[in-house]
Every structure is written in structure tokens, then in C-alpha cells.
Symmetry: C2
Subunit: 242 residues, 2 copies
């Protein structure tokens, strides 16, 4: 039984019902009952059925064919579209146990580049946190985070608590980010920290994270070991169209 009585919205109940129907008795590319049939099955209006289906289609669990029907997606397509995650969340979702070692916490004046990324005036105060990030106790990445000074003053940072949780507690809710993924080669210092030979391949991910209003909250540069980390995602054609 997948009944979840704690759900608040009807479309969530319907979505759960469809999920159960798929795992119980449907194969990839099988047709779902029509939207009108699902209305009667769940005793809801068509819009509610469609809201549930839209949700599941976003996840790649279903796909629609206009004029024909709604079908079950293929199992190898369940990989989800990329979303904004902290290192901690990312590692947990990959089945690793995350941890970290603080390399540096300091208050600095923003460089012109950092200032423009965080939309601060040049030379404004910011907090810089550099950490070695580990997965299952093994070095995975080196992360350098810059925060505007008033977002998280250096003296308030608690190394034992997830950064995103600390930010949330102070009223800064990260919502959106722009990321850039580049290839890099490890220098002597980084390769030593990560425990690989100098000159090894690495993945560098730069991120500017903002709240809903577009106010920059975090600029992070993370250097991942190329031999242990890759970035995976599902993409579709005609993103907004359809």
C-alpha cells in the first residue's frame, strides 16, 4: 500500500495512485487510463488529474501523446533534470556519506570579480570559507564559498552545521543558481589535498546562488576529482515549448 494519508493536495493523492498503478501493473510504453477515466477512479475533476500527470511527466515517469493517450516512460529515463543541491545533498543522493574539513574561514574584501558576481560594491566585506569535502571519508572536492558579509558574518559560522541550513535559519532561502562547468587540471596544492597526482583532470563547478528575488547569496567554486565525480542530468528538447 502506498497510501499516504498525510498528503495535503488532491493531485498529490492522484499522483501517488498513478505511481502505485505503474509499479504494480504497468510496463514501459503501456497506456495509462484516459484522463476521463482517472477522474472517475479518483473522484476528482479533470484539472486535478492533469496536474498529477503533469507532475509525473516532469519526472519522466509518463509522457503524453496528443490525440492518443498517456504512457509509461522507460525505466532508464528516470534520471531527473538537474536541480540545485548542496554538496551534502548531492553526496547523499549518490549514496555516499558526506563530511568536510575546514581549510580556512576568513573575512576578506571582495575582489572585483567576486564583488560583481555577488553584486556587491568592490571591496565590500565578505566571508570566505574553504573546505575539503569528503565522501565516505575520501577526498572528493575542494569548495570555496564566498558570502556577503551581512549574510553570514564570519563569527556566526558554525562548522558543524550545513551551510544551507545556517543560511535558511538567518532568513536567506536559496532558490535558484547559475552554474558553469569547466575542465581543469589540478595544481600541486589541490592535488595534494585531494590525494591524486598533480596534473590530474578535475571538474570545476562555479555557482552563483540567489534567493527568489535574484539577490545573490552565495558564490561557490568547487573543484571535483575527475576520477571520482561526474555530473549527470536528463534534458529534454524544446524546454519551454510543447
Amino acid at each position: 500500500m502506498t497510501v499516504d494519508s498525510a498528503r495535503r493536495h488532491k493531485y498529490e493523492i492522484v499522483a501517488a495512485g498513478i505511481r502505485a498503478m505503474i509499479t504494480d501493473s504497468l510496463q514501459p510504453n503501456d497506456a495509462l487510463p484516459s484522463e476521463r477515466e482517472l477522474m472517475e477512479i479518483h473522484g476528482v475533476s479533470r484539472m486535478t488529474v492533469r496536474a498529477a500527470i503533469a507532475r509525473l511527466a516532469d519526472e519522466g515517469l509518463l509522457y503524453n501523446v496528443h490525440g492518443s493517450g498517456t504512457y509509461v516512460g522507460s525505466p532508464n529515463l528516470f534520471a531527473k533534470a538537474p536541480k540545485l543541491t548542496s554538496f551534502t545533498e548531492d553526496m547523499v543522493s549518490r549514496g555516499h556519506v558526506p563530511s568536510s574539513r575546514v581549510l580556512e574561514i576568513s573575512r576578506t574584501d571582495a575582489s572585483s570579480k567576486t564583488a560583481s558576481r555577488l553584486r556587491l560594491s568592490p571591496g565590500a566585506e565578505c566571508t570566505r570559507i574553504r573546505r575539503l569535502r569528503l565522501a565516505d571519508g575520501n577526498p572528493m572536492a575542494i569548495e570555496t564559498v564566498y558570502l556577503p558579509g551581512d549574510v553570514l558574518p564570519i563569527e556566526d559560522f558554525d562548522a558543524r552545521v550545513s551551510l544551507y541550513v545556517q543560511l535558511s535559519e538567518r532568513g536567506y532561502e536559496i532558490y535558484r543558481a547559475e552554474q558553469e562547468i569547466q575542465a581543469a587540471i589540478l595544481d600541486a596544492e589541490s592535488s595534494t589535498l585531494l590525494g591524486v597526482p598533480a596534473g590530474s583532470a578535475a571538474l570545476e563547478i562555479d555557482r552563483i546562488a540567489t534567493d527568489r528575488r535574484g539577490l545573490p547569496i552565495e558564490y561557490a567554486r568547487t573543484i571535483y576529482r575527475g576520477d571520482r565525480y561526474s555530473f549527470q542530468m536528463a534534458v529534454t528538447r524544446e524546454s519551454g515549448d510543447k
Copy 2:
């Protein structure tokens, strides 16, 4: 005037109207008229207004705050969520002129890895196309594409026409893909082709592309010059939730 009389759906007309309103007279974080007001302005029902707003919010142009209003997003957040693009489309959107040089076209028996990626039986026939990809005449990437033999027999391939167009003409509509982005280091052959020193950093993007039903159509491995190419995208938190 942004009036587009050729639009088919009402929500597209409303969306165009909101777009014009933003560029004409609104600043980031300004509030939009309420949904009820927009109903009257455009003479449509509320659901139509909401469909238009949802569209624009997906693009990052707007954001909603429950109980408060709908607001204009920040201009630096207009970068869009990643979507499935061919090399040609990707380069054009970056403002480059794409071209390519065919290095190899052959019919091969799928290796066990390739076969499993394309969901073929091991040793099945497939078409392999290896091309040097250029942007503005300069080497940018080396792309190796594998297609199931019945999707595009080797003798039907036309090097002068975009691969995705050829596939579409044969009834294979690519819709979705899973991509993996990794760090790599160029070997002697690749670095020569790309015109950079051996040992340079590179970005490797592996892609399995399928149609709506999840049927694999293409497996592509592309090695990009690390000094000229980076992968950029916008991500949000709580992808499906909200």
C-alpha cells in the same frame, strides 16, 4: 509593438502582453498586476492567465510569492535551464558559426557497452560517425556518434546535412537525453586534432538520446576543448515541488 497575430493560444497572447509590459515599464522585483486584474485586462479566465505566468516563470522572467504577488525576475537570471541541443544549435546559440570535418564514417558491430547504451543485442550493427567540430573555423570538439543500423544505415548518411534533421526526416524524433559530464585529459591524437598541447584539460560529454517512448536513437561522446568550452545552466531548488 509585440502583437503577434499568428499566435494560436490565448495564453500565448497573454504571455506576450506580459512580456511587453515588463520590457516597457517594469523593473526587476516590481510587482505584476494581480492575476484577477490580468484577467480583466486581457479578457480571459484566470486559468489562462496562470498558464501564461507559469510559462514565463519557467523561463525565470517572473517569480510568484504565495499570498503576496507575482514579480519580475532579475535580469542576470535569464539564463535558461539546460535543454537538449545538437552541436550545431549549441554553437549558434553561443554566437558561433558551426562547421565540421568528417573523420570517419563506418559500419561497426556494437561493443557490449555501446550495445547496452543503445539497448541493442551485443554485436548488432550500428553506424559510427566521427567528426571534428569547429566553431568559427576553429576546432572545438571531437564528436563520435553511434546510431543503430536500422535508424540510419551508413549509405544513407549525408555529411552535408545536420544529423538531427536527417533523423527527423526518417521519422526519428529525438525528445529526451541523459548526459554525463566528465573531466578528461587529451591524448596525443585528440590534442593534435584540436590544436592544443597533449595533456590539456577537456570536457567529455556522453549522451544517450531517445524518442518520447524511450527508444535510444543516438549515443554520442563529445570531447570539448577545455580552454574554449564550458557548460552553463540555470538550476532551481526543489525541481518538481514548489
